[in-house]
């Protein structure tokens, strides 16, 4: 049985140098369609792709990704903060329904806890400098 899913992959810095996507194709016979890619060696990376193939191979491929340290979101969308654009005003803080934003007490900088984000998108339109981006 074939499956095809849109997934969001977060690469920790130590994984961005590895040929992860190539191995998905070679070792697990999966095909991929890149929707968004932002991967630079040594930095945290983001890949959004549609991954397709045989169910058994798909599961093995996902298992391989988890073992390499890649974090996977099965959501069809993702909210990412453009760090260069964020002015740390804090307008997002009391809007987020899940409390994904908080202020670092010492610096009053805005922290974004991606794990708490449920991709409602409220912050995306409400962010004054438009630093929050919704990716499909």
């Amino acid at each position: 049985m074939d499956v095809s899913r849109r997934i969001v992959l977060h690469f920790p810095p130590h994984v961005t140098g590895q040929p992860v996507v190539y191995r998905l194709a070679r070792d697990f016979d999966l095909s991929f369609n890149l929707l968004k890619a932002s991967v630079s060696p040594g930095e945290e990376g983001l890949l959004i792709m549609e991954l397709s193939g045989d169910q058994e191979n798909y599961d093995k491929g996902i298992q391989y990704l988890i073992e390499t340290g890649v974090k996977i979101q099965s959501l069809s969308q993702d909210v990412i903060r453009d760090e260069a654009r964020c002015t740390h005003c804090g307008a997002c803080i009391n809007l987020c329904p899940t409390g994904a934003f908080s202020l670092e007490p010492e610096t009053r900088k805005v922290l974004f806890d991606h794990a708490k984000c449920v991709v409602c998108g409220l912050c995306v339109k409400a962010c004054p400098p438009r630093a929050m981006r919704l990716y499909f």
């Binding site: 740390h88 005003c89 804090g90 809007l95 900088k109 004054p128 400098p129 438009r130």
Partner: protein
Amino acid sequence: MPKTIAEINEKVKRGKAVVVTAEEVIDIAREKGISKAAEEIDVVTTGTFSPMCSSGVFLNVGHSKPRIKLGGGKVYLNDVPAYAGLAAVDVFLGANALPDDDPRNKFYPGEFNYGGGHIIEELAAGKDVRLLATAYGTDCYPRKKLETWINLKDINNAILFNVRNACQNYEVGVNLSDRMIYTYMGVLKPKLGNANYCTAGQISPLLNDPYYRTIGIGTKVFLGGGVGYVAWHGTQHNPNVLRTDKGVPKEPAGTLALIGDLKQMRPEWLVGTSMLGYGCTLTVGIGIPIPILSEEILSYALVTDSEIFAPIIDYSEAYPQMKSEILGEVSYAGLKSGHIEVQGKDVPTASLSSYPKALEIASILKDWIQGGKFLLTELVAPLPGAESGITLKPLRERPIVE
């Protein structure tokens, strides 16, 4: 004690001036006492980084061959209309200007993703901007159409001239209605779902000089990452308001009109900004030095968040209907704690003004002065104080009978 600006500038030139930020000075004075601190400290630097709608830029784009008279014609910059009621090639672009085809609030709430403020940021970033103009043609300016790229580095002048910046204190916005509202104070959730404020509090320029003793016409400032000057008191400058014992206004009061050369400025300190359901604006970075000429001037600069109070206003009814009802007063210490109490309800707070960026500006200005490259200015004239009798007048509408 007391010192003069000339004496402080002598120390600045020798790299000997003692400069601290408006945040640092609080602890220093607590430790050393006001007298000793006033003796030692020469300058306190302040900062603010907030959306400031009455901002804009005058551009002189240079004369084309053959010449065109933009004045009286129509001018667009990246599809955003610029004001062309000036001489042949001078135009003005305001931060709130929107493309003609922006849907505004037809699809409510409008997103306002791009407007004049964004173009000012792009110009400062050195990006090309598309100029499209039509004119009526004259004997000396025969051309009727112009389409070209322009770039900040090529045009003759780009003068940022903001007629109202750096408001001295501001309101706290809440929403008593039962639907979400979209305001210049941000998205306000129904039934007191949140409360938004918009000043840097204890490091904000005019809150550190509440009676305008040192900040006035001619004061040299950090503006958008470059150097600017206070040109005048800003529009809606309103010194006659309720104040605390230490002179801090308890509602919006003084404002500044600031001017500076956009060519020196940086996009990180002039950020195109979109307020959902409201419009476009520009977030402006401003830093102002306060020369510590006396113990009294220092005492004002020691203001802390717990000594600054803001009125809480309902933006669903009182604000739009020009009713002067306030729901209470709250200190900035309260606002910055993350929660305030309004009508017995615990309400989470948020700021539209970036404290970390304001502090960064105060620190950059401190470095400029310590490095000897930013000298302080004598006042050309003071800002109008309470004695001026200036008050904020509402519009008295008069029927037009034809």
